[in-house]
């Protein structure tokens, strides 16, 4: 096996700056240090990325209230809710009103045919 040529002391004359020099490339590849990664390194990186992307929790803990308030302030939601409430109230009112009228009419009929002294 042929031994490598002896190294010459580095000076201004023998500095090789040619990036295509095969010997230089071999030397650089051999000198590259590849440190070993700590265990679960990749998982840790992804966890930190996810934590950075997530919104910061508020200190009051009212995020659901904020979300609900934002929902309530949406015009479509507000209009739909108001419509449902008005219709439901009106239906209930009509039902109650008609029942009261029916009871009044029943009481009026009874008053004519069955005097209070007999009931």
């Amino acid at each position: 096996m042929e031994s490598p040529p002896p190294l010459k002391p580095m000076n201004q004359e023998n500095i090789n700056l040619d990036p295509n020099d095969a010997r230089l490339g071999t030397l650089l590849r051999a000198s590259r240090v590849s440190p070993t990664l700590p265990p679960r390194f990749q998982e840790g990186v992804w966890r930190r990325i996810e934590e950075a992307d997530a919104p910061a929790p508020s200190n009051g803990g009212f995020t659901w209230l904020d979300a609900l308030a934002a929902l309530v302030l949406r015009p479509r939601f507000a209009l739909a809710t108001a419509t449902v409430l008005i219709v439901a109230g009106a239906l209930l009112g009509v039902r109650e009103g008609s029942q009261m009228v029916k009871q009044d009419a029943q009481a009026r009929y009874l008053a004519t045919v069955a005097p209070h002294s007999l009931r």
């Binding site: 308030a69 108001a82 009106a90 009261m100 009044d104 009026r108 045919v113």
Partner: protein
């Protein structure tokens, strides 16, 4: 105070106002509209699904019954007045008051019998199912109160009897 909380509370109050307002207005409107055309027999026609011919027959019976009912009511009122006179100033039930009580009870029984007879006649002019329902409803409404009172009183007396 949290802004979101204020918004939600305001929304809740607004919702309650909308619901309550529409409920109150519709109930009032419904009562006003339906009460306009109510006569004594409207309840019968609506409740027992009577047609015009059936209603006309009942109307005739009703008009025939009202003077008799008024006459009985006048007799009962007069007898009550006599009873009050007999009881006036008395600390005991004297024989005259006892007699007036008996006569008043007899008049009331006569009036009730007349009323039940009218209910029976009215029920016979209706379709059979509706007639039975009408008769049961009238008996419940006119006689049921007495039954309730009597059963509650007898129940309380039993309770007292069982006490040591």
């Amino acid at each position: 105070m949290n802004r979101s909380l204020v918004i939600l509370l305001g929304a809740l109050i607004l919702c309650a106002a909308l619901f309550g307002g529409s409920y109150a207005i519709s109930r009032r409107v419904c009562q006003n509209c339906m009460a306009k055309s109510v006569s004594d027999l409207d309840w019968l026609q609506q409740e027992f699904n009577l047609n015009d011919a059936e209603l006309a027959r009942i109307q005739k019976l009703h008009e025939g019954y009202l003077p008799k009912c008024a006459d009985m009511c006048a007799k009962i009122a007069a007898k009550k007045s006599e009873l009050e006179t007999a009881l006036n100033g008395s600390t005991n039930i004297n024989p005259l008051a006892q007699q007036k009580l008996t006569e008043l009870a007899a008049l009331r029984a006569q009036c009730q019998a007349q009323m039940l007879q009218h209910f029976t006649e009215v029920s016979q002019t209706m379709p059979p199912d509706q007639g039975r329902r009408y008769l049961a409803e009238m008996q419940r409404l006119t006689l049921g109160l007495h039954e309730q009172t009597e059963s509650s009183m007898s129940g309380s007396m039993d309770h007292e009897h069982h006490q040591p």
